[in-house]
Symmetry: C2
Amino acid sequence: MTSNRGKYSEYKEMLRDVGIELELLLMSYPEEQLDTIEEVAERSTLYLRGTLKTDFFIDDSGLFIKTLNGFPGVYSSYVFRTLGNVGILDLMKGKTERSAEFRTCIAYFDDKLNLFTGRTQGLIATDPRGTNGFGFDPVFIPDERKETYAEMTTEEKNSISHRSKATQAFLKYIKKKTI
Amino acid sequence: MTSNRGKYSEYKEMLRDVGIELELLLMSYPEEQLDTIEEVAERSTLYLRGTLKTDFFIDDSGLFIKTLNGFPGVYSSYVFRTLGNVGILDLMKGKTERSAEFRTCIAYFDDKLNLFTGRTQGLIATDPRGTNGFGFDPVFIPDERKETYAEMTTEEKNSISHRSKATQAFLKYIKKKTI
């Protein structure tokens, strides 16, 4: 039973005797459609476009954990604020499948919207390690490395990170445009 | 270090040599402002208003767990889809503070936007119990009850639920209007 159908049957009973005819509409609202960082980045860009008078780009990033069905995904920043790394490790306790992907989407608006995505695969650590970086960096070990993002210097992280891959694609576009 | 500042220092280093001047703007995007079910309900209503030609109401609901800083909150439906009740119980393992609140906001648009909120306090169960209801019902025990929402019939749940409280307020408004 979906959440919507569950709500519907409760309302149906509650409104039965008050003469309100009920029709169930299953519609997607804007916030439910935002399943990808690309969609979030795009919407944020279009929103900011009216406000800012200069060229700008925005960055939307997320950690997608396979065994958690992509959680925390586009809600990474909210989940980091509420649950933190401790919450992620609680959810991963005892799990052997620990693969995850960090994604960044850069949205850049010039005369049109341009999206540049970078991805880095890795594993969720069993304990938080390191104090560099931010967010979920202490629990993410990129593939072919032993350290977490948070155990690397900014320079080291930038040499392999999802964010730097998106940035490279972004810069390639900028340079092409400038020539 | 906030996520935004962390991103900034990475970009600063990556863009250092390409002659792009970087200015950090800390701005709230629409989706980050939606901290309450009232805001989500309001936005969904305004969005649907253009599409629907009849009177309508929408329901936004969420489970707010105190010791998890309000998680899953406005993202309850996403969190249910990805983590389910199992995920909530994993996060609550070993926690003695188990109080939580279920909230529904009904947004009804006639000539103006009207919001009706209902709240029910309770505790997070240690195991999922019951098969009625939907969503997080199997792990929520309302105050002064021993059963979870999912162990109650729709009628029993409606007699105490957050959703029925919002509905009562909504109906009171409708009746006043009709007279």
